[in-house]
Symmetry: C2
DNA sequence: CAAACTGTACTAGTCGTATAATACAGTCAA
DNA sequence: TTGACTGTATTATACGACTAGTACAGTTTG
């Protein structure tokens, strides 16, 4: 059962997108595996203090990407493969790197300084 | 005069916030300096193809942070100081690093691998 | 079987972002 | 001084994210 214990929604980005990212990153990290059982829409929404429809939207999008399977009346499960995880990892990392590199470049920061900044502030930015 | 030539709005985040970031990052980079003249609300909105009210919202927030001064009837100008720029630089970088570090950590990526990924993909992620 | 769960669907409302149109007051230069 | 520009303010509309409540069909378990 996927727990969502470490899920802390942030304001500023849609919650359903944050749920999507939480699942995808968990899959890449290996903490979420193929066949894992997902909490029901109602249970998860109560746990997170959000609306069931918001959870449903996130789960529907996950199903659109074939990362979970849902069936009326039954529980939902992760459907992962090595190929899917590899794609996820590549996509997520590329997007994250593109984002930070663009931001730092706009501030006139070059590659060497970016590496130094990331190295110096890595531990400091614990969640 | 600040040009906004390299400003490309992205969908997914509010445009007024992107304008804020564009100005702040330019100030940190040194391409935007104290006393620089800002385009008028009407001119900039026409240039970017967005609504004047959206530009006004961004400029109002900049004035709330005392980064620009506005006066009815007259043009608006940047009001920067070394101290302000230093604060901006620290805040923006810290937030960016926190964001990428959190994302990569959620994917089970440690500091060494993060540095390697950033180094390998820095050039590739040109805007 | 029956109760308690599951996923799914729908309507209605709030809130923030963004647009559209207009108005008014102050500055600046021809 | 006059006209063209500035900043500022107002009202109305549209849309997506999110909430709230309800309903129905299918599965699972006692």
């Amino acid at each position: 059962m996927i727990t969502f214990e470490t899920f802390k929604p942030v304001e500023g980005t849609p919650i359903y997108q944050q749920i999507l990212l939480y699942i995808k990153r968990g899959a890449v990290a290996g903490t979420i595996r193929d066949g894992d059982e997902l909490p029901s829409r109602r249970v998860l929404s109560a746990l997170l203090g959000i609306n069931p429809n918001t959870v449903q939207k996130a789960f529907r999008l996950l199903e659109d990407e074939s990362l979970i399977t849902s069936q009326t009346g039954a529980k939902s499960y992760m459907t992962l493969s090595g190929e899917k995880i590899g794609k996820l990892r590549e996509d997520l990392i590329r997007e994250d790197i593109r984002s930070i590199a663009g931001a730092l470049r706009q501030m006139g920061i070059d590659k060497e300084e970016a590496l130094r900044l990331l190295s110096e502030n890595w531990e400091e930015s614990e969640s």
